[in-house]
Every structure is written in C-alpha cells, then in structure tokens.
Symmetry: C2
Subunit: 214 residues, 2 copies
DNA sequence: CCTCTATTGTGAACACTTAAACAAAATTAT
DNA sequence: ATAATTTTGTTTAAGTGTTCACAATAGAGG
C-alpha cells in the first residue's frame, strides 16, 4: 500500500486540492499558503494543514507550499502519472453525456470502452469511444484489465450487471443507479444518486436556512 | 421550521429511506424492522433507529415500523406532498441528460424551465421542458418563484451565473461544475463533481482494498 | 392471564472529523 | 545580524457521527 491510513474525509478532498493546484500552476503561481488555499477551496486552513501533514512535512514555515512540487507530490498520490482506463456500462442519456464528458482534460483518466444492450449501438463509436454489445462486456473488461466502471444502466438490471463486473475482477464502481449495490468487501462503490442529491438540497433549503452544510 | 435540528448525516440518508419505503409499499409489505431496512439500504440498524428517533417514536417495540405510516411521515418531512419546481441552467450534454432524467418518477420534483445562451436552443422544448434564452433567466426565476437550480454551465461562467441566481432569490444550487461557488450563508450548495468522484474511486481502489472477498 | 419473543429507543462508549491556538521554524525586512 | 513577520505542523479540545448493549415494551402464543 502506497501510503499509510489516510482518513476518508481527507482522501475525498485530495482531488479538490489537486485541481486547484493545477489552476495555480497554470497561472504561474510559485507558492501558496494554507490560508490562500482555504479561501479558494472553502476548507478551513487548519484542516488543509492537517490533511497535508498525513503525507509528511510538505511546506516550509513562514513561506507556505511550493505549488509545483506539491502538485507533483499529489500527482503521485492520485495515480495521475499513469493513464487509467475505465469503462462505462449503459449508454442511455446519462451514459452518453458522460462519454462526452472530458475527464481526460483535468486528469489522467479516460473512458476506453462502453457497453450497451441496444443492438443499434453495438460496434459504433460515440465521442470517440467504442461501444461494444453487452455480450462482450466481460471479455473486454478482462482483456483491457479495467478495474473501475461507471454504471449507468437501468435500476432493474444494476445488481445483475454489478455481479458480472465483479466476477471479471472489477474493483470499483461509480454507481449512478439508485440501487444500493451489494458487492464483496474488496470492491469499492461510490454512489451518485441524482434524485437523492436534489431531494437533500431541497430539504436543506427548507430546514437549514442559516447554516452552510457540506 | 418544520423540524428541530436534525444532524446533517441523518438528513442525507432520509431520501434513501424514503425510496426504499416506497419500494416496500409497492410490494405490499405492511411492516419492516430496522434490521430488514439495514440490509436493504446498507446502513447499520442502530443508526437507522437513531435517525428515526430524531423525529419521535415512529415504531413499535417488538413489532417494527408500519411501512405506510412511516412513508407518509417522511413524505411530509421531505416536502413530497407538494410539487417542487426547479430550474436547470446550461443545456449542454450533461444538462440535456438531466432534462431527460425522470426526477418526477420517484419524487414530487420536476424541472420546470431550462436556460441556455446558445441562440439555436432559445424557445425550443427538450424532454417536454421549455428552454429560454439566458437573457430571460432572472425574470423567469423570479416569476416562477424557483428556489432551487441545477447548474450545468461551463466552469468559466459558473460563479457569474450563481451570483445572478442568488440575486433573484435562489436558495439552493446543485452545482455540477468543479468550481467551489462562493455564495451567501443562507444559500445551500450541493456539489457533484464527476471528475472528483471518479478520482476518489480510483484512489480508494488503490489504497483501501481490504482484500476480504466474501 | 402469564410467559416468551421480537424489536424499539436510548444512554454510554467509541470513533472520526474539524478547528482553535500556539511554539517552532523559516522567510523577509531593516 | 538581528528583529519582525509569516506560516507551518501539531497539540489539544470540541464537535459530529456511529455503534454497542440493554432495559422497556409491544405483540404473539399458549
């Protein structure tokens, strides 16, 4: 394991830091303090320093952090020095939008294959990504050694598809279906439930008017 | 304010409970225990009981919870007894997919208007939702008294658009752009950063693999 | 009726997360 | 060179969230 146990809350903020550091580097900023970072990413400066400290002493007292070396450090932590290929399963409206989404612009991530059951989509190319028939899903995922998949199939089939993916070695699923997938403990699931997010937002509007959650 | 202070973590789980209770009711289940719920939604049963207890004593000892009355109770809590209209700003690939997404199927939420700067989209209808030119955004939002907005514009304009929305009384933004919006404290922002989610998933795969297949 | 069983609701312990505060250390100014 | 300033890294404390464990209690079965 590359690093020792980083708190989950910290891990979830790493991409936020990474992105903002890229912005700073593009703007030719040499150094940055935790206070400056704090304003931009809206995380308390003490939390930022604490987060960084899990990885060692990355800054200099009285100076701050060197943008370029910090960015390079996180590049390693976030596996951004090698290209990671992911697959997308379910080329409906949302799936198509994600095929078109430029993950590769900000990160060293790309969707290298998509799968769908609709015969008319089989063996076509969308946003530069080949779409294979569902029947080839397991074979392709094994061959391409893909271990992360974006799941945008209908809810009714999501558990079945997840089982198939797990059986060919997929280790992580970005699950856009509202179903709470049941998978082995060594498989990571990240849920993005759009309806829930919207419902939660409305709830917060009505009930937390004074505060600023998240 | 409808309810006393509900912990944020609890609030975020309410839509999950709500959805599963709907499923149970459709399946004509009369009663459910926290243990059963726990398996379905993958939240510890004690956590479920604690969550419910913030709203009072909703269950019966030795029996569990009555599905229908619990569902109706949460329906009120989650403002599901009245229709809530939201707007969508930015009809690109992702915006279009969300216009097509059937929020109204599971919830009493619908997108009632969309806005975009592209002249060719102005005054057209997509997935049954009217698209207005950006110039009419503030007027329409005021007139329709919309207080929640889905933001799917390019990053470069997101803060500017957010400011415009806030100035006409928008109280909540579901922000799909990677920019951390700066808004007054009484405005809620819920961020969905697709790149971050994918990056975090990859990080978890590499660093939190427990290697305990079931 | 009484006994047995199931399951809640919650006090208390534990775990995780955030943030205040400040000594230590490096930079910057004089 | 020295003093003033800045800003880190970390100690400590407070705040949030989760889970255990069990008394309290409702329902079911004699």
């Amino acid at each position: 394991m590359a690093t020792k146990k980083i708190p989950k809350a910290t891990a979830k903020r790493l991409p936020i830091y990474y992105r903002y550091l890229s912005v700073l580097l593009s703007a030719n900023k040499r150094r940055v303090s935790s206070t400056e970072l704090s304003e931009a990413v809206q995380v308390d400066s003490a939390t930022i320093r604490r987060d960084f400290s899990y990885f060692g002493e990355l800054g200099k007292r009285g100076y701050g952090y060197d943008v370029e070396s910090l960015l390079n450090f996180f590049k390693g932590i976030l596996n951004q020095d090698t290209l990671t290929s992911v697959a997308l399963v379910g080329v409906g409206a949302l799936g198509s939008a994600l095929l078109n989404y430029n993950f590769h612009q900000d990160t060293n991530l790309r969707i290298s294959a998509a799968f769908d059951t609709k015969p008319e989509l089989a063996n076509t190319v969308k946003s530069g990504i080949p779409i294979y028939p569902a029947s080839e899903m397991q074979k392709q995922i094994k061959e391409q050694q893909i271990d992360a998949v974006i799941l945008t199939v209908p809810s009714s089939t999501s558990q079945k598809v997840a089982d198939q993916l797990v059986s060919v070695g997929v280790k992580g699923i970005l699950n856009f279906t509202p179903v709470r997938l049941s998978v082995p403990k060594n498989v990571q699931v990240q849920n993005i439930d759009l309806t829930n997010e919207l419902q939660t937002l409305i709830y917060f509007i009505k009930n937390y008017a004074e505060n600023n959650p998240e």
